[in-house]
C-alpha cells in the first residue's frame, strides 16, 4: 500500500475510533458503523488540511471507499505537482 493510502487510513482510523488494521481499501460507510455523513465530512476536511488542498463537489462524489479516497488524493497531488512544475 502506498504512503498516501497509509496516511488516509491513519486519519480515518483516528476519526472513526477504530484500529487502523480494521480499515482496508474496501472500507466504506456501509461497513464501518461510526462512519456517517458528519464523519465523512470530518475525514474529508482532515485530508484537505493535511495535504493543503480542497476537493470539488465532483471529486467528493468519487470518495466512497478508503481506496477510492487514496487514489483520488494521489491523482490530485500528482496534478498539483505537474502544475507547479
Amino acid at each position: 500500500m502506498s504512503a498516501i493510502f497509509e496516511q488516509v487510513r491513519g486519519i480515518a482510523a483516528d476519526l472513526l475510533g477504530v484500529p487502523p488494521d480494521r480499515i482496508t481499501s474496501q472500507s466504506s460507510p456501509e461497513d464501518l458503523e461510526s462512519w456517517d455523513s458528519v464523519q465523512h465530512l470530518n475525514i474529508t476536511l482532515a485530508l484537505e488540511q493535511q495535504f493543503q488542498l480542497q476537493f470539488d463537489p465532483e471529486e467528493i462524489d468519487q470518495m466512497r471507499t478508503i481506496g477510492q479516497i487514496a487514489t483520488l488524493l494521489e491523482q490530485k497531488l500528482a496534478r498539483h505537482q505537474v502544475w507547479k512544475q
Binding site: S28, P29, E30, W35, D36, S37, V38, Q39, H40, L41, N42, T44, L45, F55, D56, P57, E58, I60, D61, Q62, M63, R64
Partner: protein, 373 residues
C-alpha cells in the same frame, strides 16, 4: 455511478416521489419530503422578483439521492442592499443509506459554489448533523434566543411536553397545576421580570389585510438601525404573509402621530405537538419598528394575544432591543434550538458591521418561515 446536481425538472417528478417514499420507509419525518412538482411552490422565480426559491436535486442516473433549496433574498447590511441566499434542507439519502454518506458534503460544496453568501436558520439545535457539519466547514453559528410568556398557567403545566417527559414529571406538573402553586409561581416570576417603567402602549392597533406604502415608509425609516435584516418592504411582506391567507395576523401599531411599527403574529391550536401538546400558542413571528419603539410594539402584540386567550406566547428574536422588549413584557428565556449559521463569506461581511452580533434582526419570519408554529 456518479451523482450530478441539477435543477429540478418535470422529468424527475417520479424520481422525487420514489425518493420521498424511501425516506418515509426509513422513518424520516415528512417535513423533509420534497414537493412532487418542479415549480418552487411558494416563491417561484418570476420576472424580476427579488425573492425566489430554486430546487437542486442530486441525481444518480434516473434516481434522486438528495436535494437542497436556495431561497434568494435581498438583505440590508446596515442600509446597503445585497442579495444572499438561505440554504434550506439539505436532505441526503445518506440519512437512510450510508452508501451516500458523502452526498451531504457534496451538496454543501455545490451550494457554496452557486452562492458564497449563504445562511442557514433553525436546524433544531447545535447537536443536529447539519449545524455540526456547517461548523466543521467554518461557518459561524450562534443561537437566536427563544422567549416565552405563559398566559394560562394551568393549561401550560398540563400540556407543555418538555416538562412532562416521564410519568413522575407528568404527575408533578398535574399536582402543581391543580394546587394553584403553578399559577402563582409562573405569574410571580413573569411579573418580577416585567418592567413597570416601560410605558403602556397608548396608541391604536389595527389588523391589516396586507402591507402597502406605510410599510415601505417604515422600512426606509428603520433599516439602517439594524446591522443585518431581510428586506421587509411591502412587496416582500405580501409574498411572505399573503393577504387573506387566514393564518397570519398582521398588526399595525399607530402612535400619537406616526406609525410605530408592525408585527405578524399567529394564534395556533396545537394538536399533539411534540413541544406544545394541545396548547393554544400565540407567536410573535415577525416584527419591525425603530428600535426605540420595540417595547411598545411588543407590549401591544402581547396584549392582543392575551386578549385572544392563547395559553402561551413565544418568540425568537436575535436583536438585543427586541429581546429586551420581550423581557420587559415579562417573557422568560427558554432553551433555543433556532440556530443562525453564516457561511464564511457572509460572516466576513457581518463582522465589521456588528462584531458582537447584537443588531442582527432574525426571527421566525426568516428562513423557512414559521412552519412549525
Amino acid at each position: 455511478m456518479s451523482i450530478c446536481i441539477q435543477s429540478y425538472t418535470q422529468e424527475l417528478v417520479a424520481a422525487v416521489r420514489a425518493f420521498n417514499g424511501r425516506l418515509a420507509a426509513g422513518g424520516v419525518s415528512t417535513e423533509f419530503c420534497l414537493p412532487e412538482h418542479p415549480a418552487a411552490g411558494l416563491l417561484p422565480k418570476v420576472a424580476d422578483r427579488r425573492i425566489y426559491q430554486e430546487y437542486f436535486l442530486a441525481r444518480e442516473r434516473d434516481s434522486v439521492r438528495g436535494a437542497y433549496i436556495l431561497k434568494h433574498q435581498d438583505f440590508s447590511f446596515s442600509g446597503a442592499i445585497r442579495p444572499i441566499a438561505h440554504l434550506r434542507l439539505p436532505i441526503s439519502e445518506g440519512i437512510i443509506n450510508k452508501a451516500y454518506a458523502g452526498l451531504a458534503l457534496q451538496m454543501l460544496r455545490n451550494a457554496l459554489r452557486a452562492h458564497s453568501s449563504l445562511f442557514a436558520l433553525g436546524m433544531g439545535g447545535f447537536q443536529q448533523p447539519l449545524p455540526r457539519m456547517l461548523q466543521a466547514l467554518g461557518w459561524n453559528l450562534h443561537e437566536v434566543p427563544f422567549y416565552f410568556k405563559v398566559n394560562r398557567p394551568w393549561r401550560f403545566l398540563r400540556h407543555i411536553q418538555p416538562l412532562r417527559k416521564t410519568p413522575a414529571r407528568r404527575l408533578a406538573m398535574d399536582l402543581v397545576a391543580s394546587s394553584g402553586i403553578g399559577w402563582l409561581g409562573i405569574k410571580s416570576l413573569q411579573a418580577m421580570r416585567a418592567q413597570k417603567s416601560i410605558p403602556q402602549f397608548a396608541g391604536s392597533v389595527q389588523q391589516s389585510e396586507g402591507f402597502s406604502a406605510w410599510a415601505d415608509t417604515l422600512w426606509e425609516n428603520c433599516q439602517r438601525q439594524y446591522s443585518f435584516l431581510a428586506v421587509r418592504d411591502s412587496a416582500t411582506l405580501n409574498l411572505l404573509y399573503p393577504p387573506g391567507s387566514g393564518r397570519f395576523i398582521c398588526l399595525r401599531f399607530e402612535g400619537d402621530d406616526s406609525l410605530l411599527g408592525w408585527a405578524v403574529v399567529l394564534d395556533t391550536r396545537m394538536e399533539n405537538n411534540k413541544y406544545f401538546g394541545n396548547l393554544r400558542v400565540g407567536s410573535i413571528v415577525d416584527c419591525l419598528a425603530r428600535t426605540e419603539n420595540a417595547p411598545q410594539v411588543i407590549a401591544a402584540a402581547v396584549d392582543l394575544l392575551e386578549q385572544r386567550g392563547v395559553d402561551l406566547i413565544v418568540s425568537n428574536q436575535s436583536h438585543h432591543c427586541w429581546a429586551a422588549a420581550l423581557r420587559s413584557a415579562g417573557f422568560l428565556r427558554g432553551p433555543s434550538n433556532f440556530i443562525f449559521a453564516a457561511s464564511p463569506k457572509l460572516a466576513d461581511s457581518l463582522r465589521p458591521l456588528d462584531p458582537q452580533r447584537t443588531r442582527l434582526h432574525l426571527n421566525r419570519g426568516d428562513g423557512d418561515g414559521p412552519i412549525h408554529l
